[in-house]
C-alpha cells in the first residue's frame, strides 16, 4: 500500500529568520514535549523556550511572536538541526506551517528527518544566507521563491542552485516515502537476512 504524503514542487512566500547558529533540536522541540504518541500537534511547542517565558507568556521579541514575520520558509544559521535525532523537530516545524528550511549547513539526521516528512531543507552558500537575512531584515515581506524541479532558490535579484539527492527529489515531488521503495525489495532483503543469520 502506498502512503501518500503532501507533494512539493514550488513555493513562493515570505520567510521567518532565526539568525542563530547551531540551532539544536532541543531548541526546536524540548524533550519534555516529546511525550505524545502521535505525529500531530508539535507545532504548538515549536521553539517553546525561545517563544514563551517561565510563566508561559509569549516572549515579545522572539520572531515567531512578531506578526511582522510570516511565511512558510524558515531561515536558520549554520548547523541547523544538530543534536538529538528526534523526528519531532521536523514534525514541529511542519506542523507549525513551514514547508522549507533554509540554512548554509544542516545536521545529517535532521536533514533526513525533514525529507522524510515533506519538509524541504535547502542548503545555500554562506554569502547567499547572509544576503537573505539582510533582505528579510530590510523588508520582512521579501518573497522567497523555491523551485524544487529546477533546484533553485531566489529572492529579489539573487538566485542560487541547491543540491538534493535525485531519489529524495522524486519522493518529494510525487509524495512517495521510503517504505514504499523498501517494501518492493523484501525478497532480496529476506534472502540477505537468511544468508547472514
Amino acid at each position: 500500500m502506498t502512503m501518500s504524503k503532501d507533494k512539493f514542487t514550488t513555493l513562493k512566500t515570505s520567510a521567518v529568520p532565526i539568525a542563530s547558529e547551531n540551532i539544536d533540536t532541543d531548541q526546536i522541540i524540548p524533550a519534555r514535549f516529546l511525550k505524545a504518541t502521535t505525529r500531530e500537534g508539535f507545532g504548538d511547542n515549536l521553539f517553546r523556550d525561545w517563544r514563551y517565558d517561565g510563566n508561559n507568556e509569549p516572549i515579545k521579541d522572539f520572531v515567531l511572536n512578531d506578526p511582522t514575520y510570516t511565511g512558510k520558509v524558515l531561515v536558520g544559521g549554520k548547523n541547523f538541526g544538530c543534536g538529538s535525532s528526534r523526528e519531532h523537530a521536523a514534525w514541529a516545524i511542519y506542523d507549525y506551517g513551514f514547508r522549507v528550511v533554509v540554512s548554509s549547513f544542516f545536521a545529517d539526521i535532521f536533514k533526513n528527518n525533514a525529507l522524510n516528512n515533506g519538509l524541504l531543507p535547502v542548503v545555500v552558500s554562506d554569502a547567499f544566507l547572509k544576503k537573505l537575512f539582510d533582505a528579510i531584515g530590510k523588508d520582512p515581506k521579501t518573497q522567497v521563491d523555491v523551485d524544487l524541479p529546477e533546484q533553485t532558490i531566489s529572492f529579489n535579484n539573487e538566485k542560487e542552485k541547491f543540491e538534493i539527492n535525485i531519489y529524495k527529489k522524486e519522493c518529494l515531488i510525487n509524495g512517495y516515502d521510503d517504505i514504499d521503495y523498501l517494501l518492493s525489495l523484501t525478497k532480496e532483503i529476506g534472502e540477505y537476512d537468511v544468508a547472514h543469520s
Binding site: 500500500m1 502512503m3 539568525a19 542563530s20 547558529e21 547551531n22 539544536d24 532541543d26 531548541q27 524540548p30 524533550a31 519534555r32 516529546l34 511525550k35 505524545a36 504518541t37 502521535t38 505525529r39 523556550d49 517561565g54 544559521g77 549554520k78 548547523n79 544538530c82 543534536g83 538529538s84 535525532s85 528526534r86 523526528e87 519531532h88 521536523a90 549547513f105 545536521a107 545529517d108 539526521i109 533526513n112 528527518n113 522524510n116 516528512n117 554562506d126 539527492n165 535525485i166 531519489y167 529524495k168 516515502d177 521510503d178 517504505i179 521503495y181 523498501l182 517494501l183 525489495l185 523484501t186 532480496e188 532483503i189 540477505y192 537476512d193 547472514h196
Partner: protein, 469 residues
C-alpha cells in the same frame, strides 16, 4: 592504492548493501535494532496503518529509558503522559512480538548501555536506534548510528534503511594520557578542536595507541559523543579488549561459535592502502581535564583555561551566537571557570553511567563528603550496573558521601523525565549535551568527566581533579 583497499567502515557498509542504485541512497541491511518509548510509537502506528508486521522480530530489542522516573520504579509512573508512553511501548512490543526489558526487569537500562552489556552489540554489525547516541555501539567495531522515527518504521517494516553512504574521517590519538585525564576528556578535547559540526557528513574511525589502551567502557564514551561533532557515527577497530568484553555475555555467541566469530572479527581492520576523506591527528599529552562553558559541546576548554573572548573567535560570524551562549550561561568572556560554584552534580547518561564510571567517581569520593551547596545524583546506566555497584560496595561510598544513588534511566541528561535542573542553576554533568534547557528549562550545564564531576561534588565548585589524585 589498490582498488580493493577499504576502511573498516566501508567493509561493513558495503557488506550490508542489499540494493545499490546510482543516484539513490543505499538500501542497507540492519543487523540490530534497538527501540525505546519515545521515538517508536508513531513507527508502530505506521505499521498498523499499512497492515504489515515486523520483518524480523529477533533483530529488534526494546527498553524503557528516556521517560522513566529514577525513584520508585516499582510504582506506576506518576505523570500521565509519561506513563502512557511507556505503556504504549509495552502494548506495541506485545502486539508485534518484540523482546522488551521493561521497568523492573533485571536487564532494563539506558538502551546504549544494555545493548553492549547483553552481548547484543557485536563487531561488524550495522546497528540503529531512534536516538542519536546510537554511535556508542561503534566502540565494538560496528557501524552504528541514530535515526528518526520514519526510519525506525522502515527498519521494523523491512529490516533495511535507505541511507546515503557518508564520507570517512580518521581521528588518530597517540601518546600517554596525563594524570586525571580519561576518555571523556579525549572526546571533549577533540570536539573543542573541530567544533560541533566538524564531522558532519562523515563516519569517524578512532585510532592510535591512546585509543588502543582504553577499556571498552572508555571507548564507548568516545564513540557515544561522535554525534556531538556532527558525525554520522564513530567506530574503533575491534581487538582483544573487545573480544574479552564480549566473551560470555548473555546473547553473544558461545563456545566454538564465539571462537569462529573472533576469527571473523579479526578481519575487521582498515586495509593498509585504504584512504580516508579526512585524517586528523592529536597528541594525548596535550589533553587535560576538560570542561564546557557554552551551549554546544564544541564550546569546551581545559579546566584551567579561560573562556575565549569574542575577539579571539576563529570566525567573526560566530560572535552573536557566542555572546548569546555566554549570556545564557551567565558567564563572562575571558574569565576562568575554576572555583565557580555549582548547584548540581549529575553522574549518569549513556555517555558515563557504566560500572567503570561509577568506580572512577567512588575512587575520588571514598571517605569524603559532598559540599553542602550541591545536590549529587548518581544514576547507574542499567539494572546490571546498579547490581554490580552494590556488589562492589560503591553504594555505601556514595551514601556516606551524601550522594543520591537512584535507579537506571536517562534521568537529568535530557530534561524529559522528573529529574531536571532548576532554572538558572549550574550543573556539572557527565552527560553529552550542554544545549540551552537540555537539563530542564533555563538550566546551565558544564560537561565534564566522571572524575571532574566527582571532584566538583566534594568541593562544590569547578575543580581541577588533579588536586585529588
Amino acid at each position: 592504492m589498490s582498488s580493493e583497499a577499504k576502511t573498516i567502515f566501508e567493509k561493513i557498509w558495503d557488506g550490508h548493501v542489499v540494493k545499490r542504485v546510482a543516484g539513490y541512497p543505499d538500501a542497507v541491511f540492519i543487523d540490530r535494532h534497538f527501540i525505546h518509548e519515545v521515538t517508536s510509537p508513531q513507527a508502530f502506528d505506521g505499521l498498523r496503518k499499512r497492515g504489515i508486521k515486523v520483518f524480523n522480530t529477533s533483530r529488534t530489542t526494546a527498553t524503557a529509558d528516556h521517560n522513566v522516573p529514577t525513584k520508585d520504579q516499582h510504582l506506576p509512573i506518576k505523570e500521565a503522559l509519561s506513563r502512557h508512553q511507556v505503556e504504549t511501548l509495552r502494548t506495541n512490543c506485545k502486539e508485534f512480538g518484540i523482546d522488551l526489558y521493561d521497568l523492573g526487569h533485571p536487564y532494563q537500562g539506558i538502551v546504549h548501555i544494555i545493548g553492549p552489556e547483553l552481548g547484543l552489540t557485536l563487531p561488524g554489525m550495522t546497528i540503529v536506534c531512534g536516538d542519536s547516541h546510537t554511535s556508542t555501539h561503534g566502540a565494538f567495531g560496528s557501524v552504528a548510528f541514530g535515526i528518526g522515527t520514519s526510519e525506525v518504521e522502515q527498519v521494523l517494516a523491512t529490516q533495511c534503511i535507505l541511507q546515503s553512504k557518508p564520507k570517512t574521517m580518521k581521528i588518530e590519538i597517540n601518546g600517554k594520557l596525563g594524570k586525571g585525564v580519561v576518555s571523556k576528556d579525549i572526546i571533549l578535547y577533540i570536539i573543542s578542536k573541530i567544533s560541533a559540526s566538524g564531522a558532519t557528513g562523515f563516519f569517524v574511525e578512532y585510532a592510535g595507541d591512546s585509543i588502543r589502551a582504553l577499556s571498552m567502557e572508555a571507548r564507548m564514551t568516545i564513540c557515544n559523543m561522535s554525534i556531538e561533532m556532527g558525525a554520522r557515527g564513530g567506530l574503533i577497530a575491534p581487538d582483544d579488549t573487545t573480544f574479552n568484553y564480549i566473551k560470555g555475555r548473555k546473547f553473544a555467541p558461545q563456545g566454538k561459535a564465539f571462537d569462529d566469530a573472533v576469527e571473523r572479527w579479526k578481519k575487521l581492520v582498515t586495509d593498509k592502502d585504504a584512504k580516508y576523506d579526512v585524517e586528523l591527528n592529536f597528541d594525548a599529552s596535550d589533553i587535560a581535564p576538560m570542561i564546557t562553558y557554552g551551549t554546544n559541546p564544541g564550546m569546551g576548554m581545559k579546566v584551567t583555561d579561560r573562556i575565549p573572548t569574542v575577539a579571539e573567535l576563529k570566525e567573526i560570524s560566530e560572535a552573536n551566537s557566542f555572546k548569546k551562549s555566554l549570556e545564557y550561561m551567565g558567564l563572562i568572556e575571558g574569565t576562568g571557570l575554576l572555583g565557580k560554584p555549582v548547584d548540581y552534580v549529575f553522574i549518569g547518561s549513556c555517555t558515563n553511567a557504566r560500572i567503570e564510571d561509577l568506580r572512577l567517581v567512588a575512587q575520588i569520593v571514598k571517605g569524603k563528603k559532598k559540599a553542602p551547596n550541591v545536590e549529587v545524583w548518581v544514576i547507574p546506566g542499567s539494572k546490571q550496573v546498579e547490581a554490580q555497584a552494590i556488589e562492589e560496595g560503591l553504594d555505601k561510598v556514595f551514601h556516606e558521601a551524601g550522594f543520591e544513588l537512584r535507579s537506571p534511566g536517562c534521568s537529568a541528561c535530557l530534561g524529559m523525565n522528573e529529574d531536571k535542573v532548576p532554572p538558572g542553576k549550574y550543573c556539572i554533568s557527565t552527560s553529552n549535551r550542554n544545549f540551552e534547557g537540555r537539563q530542564g528549562p533555563k538550566s546551565r550545564t558544564f560537561l565534564a568527566s566522571p572524575l571532574s564531576a566527582a571532584a566538583a561534588a566534594i568541593t562544590g565548585k569547578v575543580t581541577d581533579v588533579r588536586e585529588f589524585i
